[in-house]
Subunit: 267 residues, 2 copies
DNA sequence: CGCCTAGTTGACCAGGTTCAACAACGGTGG
DNA sequence: CCACCGTTGTTGAACCTGGTCAACTAGGCG
């Protein structure tokens, strides 16, 4: 679990594949995310879809935004997974969040000029970049969109708190189970998972840095969950075999994700 | 470090002392906070000061906002310390943040209808409550104020991330040292601390729940810092005797607090 | 005076780490 | 086509940071 700085390269000039196309459907997951909490007006939706985008394919394990940099744009995940992390002395690393399609992992950079952490690709990913100026315009003129985006940043913080509980006060097993439950609910909400199965690309080393554990212990903890018949995990695909038992072990209460009630009518 | 639910009472009807006065100076610390990153226009400032406030004194160790509640107002800390926390089965507790004068600890409730954690007083405190409707009006009509408040929520999240690093990847000593450094810089920025001294009211049990440790270990860790001549702590007053050594031990880099550069001219 | 809270100390214990070796796999180049 | 190598995952054994339990001290306050 030691990392070399060279291990993660920056995307500039490393084979990133720029694309100029701007199909409206690329923002579908983001829209779905923003509208989880109530539909946007047709005007708001048009304003959002009118944002100037630069779509770019980024290979696996590249820094998209470096710690200490001063971004002039925000990125939107179109496909693939990203993660946010910070490196410490001695190669230690803490991962703060995983991001999936529809997320804007550096929306906060609109307000904080200098990045206090980095963002990198966990898988090959397709990203859309929007200039800060354009987003600033949008939120200054469209209060409802501003509210929807603000809410995204605030939910982000709620997820941080949930992870803090795991890091500070839960056993390795509970914490890992919690993460597995959380990711399922998040993916399910935007239509990227169903029937308790989803693609789960992190390596055990990445999981370890998210959970504050070692790879060795993640391995053993994962085996415990498998052995107890709670999950299956092969070929990057995770299946939750016993949701109730997992949720109980994790003390998982999805309130913090602030998703719409699932029994409510509609989507 | 076991807590009884009855240990923290809700403020309603427990001797909270309502006041109707509305002196403008009560918002001084909040204004100072919002203007750390650039002055507000005279109009924005007036709009902020024009918010309808209900000022209330709250005794120590009372829930101000309960987990699961649906706040219809935000609170502003005028004096005293608050903390945000979540309880788990078996009396475990994780504290997410300490809040000092000038903070709005539940600003996020403007967007998240149900509280996923609680807020309580760490010391007797004086709070100002503002109806959500009034804040909503404010941010809908005054984009610059909206941006300043949004930034507050986003800095909150940055502090969560710093704590996650401590919880996940630092030794007890480093983590405690980090917290001591962080609080000093925060208080200093709003003029509540200077010369490396400040009032530090948390008990060791509260520190333990913030750091993900036990009171016993907090006690020993604190003695280690004292023994090494790095800090002094008596009568709720903390003094950092060797800032450089503390910052080194904590790997403290204040960038995440997003405070103005201290060498820059001005205030 | 008595009680409650906060802090302190010691002895023992355990969850998770460290170190080391190895297996499985996929990609690559000769 | 296969040898080679890097990455990822797996296992065992020893170790250590921080937890648990329990007892005790020191204030503060009614």
């Amino acid at each position: 679990m030691r990392y070399d700085a060279r291990d993660v390269r920056h995307i500039r000039g490393t084979g990133a594949d720029a694309m100029d196309l701007h199909p409206e459907h690329v923002l579908r997951p983001l829209l779905r995310n923003l509208e989880l909490h109530g539909p946007l007006s047709e005007e708001d939706r048009r304003a959002l879809l009118g944002l100037p985008l630069r779509v770019q394919a980024v290979p696996v394990r590249r820094d998209v935004v470096a710690e200490g940099s001063r971004p002039a744009q925000c990125c939107i995940v179109l496909s693939g997974w990203l993660y946010r992390y910070r490196m410490l002395r001695g190669g230690r690393r803490q991962i703060f969040a995983f991001h999936v399609p529809g997320d804007m992992p550096d929306l906060h950079s609109l307000f904080l000029p200098v990045m206090d952490h980095a963002i990198a690709t966990l898988t090959p990913a397709s990203l859309a970049f929007v200039p800060h100026a354009a987003v600033r315009d949008l939120v200054a003129t469209r209060p409802n969109l501003a509210a929807a985006l603000w809410r995204e940043t605030v939910i982000d913080a709620a997820v941080f708190r949930a992870w803090m509980v795991g890091l500070g006060r839960q056993s390795a097993t509970a914490q890992l189970a919690h993460m597995i439950c959380e990711i399922y609910r998040k993916l399910e909400a935007i239509g990227l998972a169903a029937q308790y199965r989803y693609e789960f690309p992190p390596t055990q080393a990445e999981l370890a840095d998210a959970l504050g554990l070692t790879t060795v212990h993640v391995n053993r903890t994962m085996q415990e969950l498998k052995g107890a018949g709670l999950i299956r995990w092969q070929d990057r695909t995770l299946e939750i075999l016993d949701w109730e038992a997992m949720a109980a072990r994790a003390e998982f209460n999805p309130a913090y994700l602030h998703l719409p009630e699932r029994e409510a009518a509609g989507r």
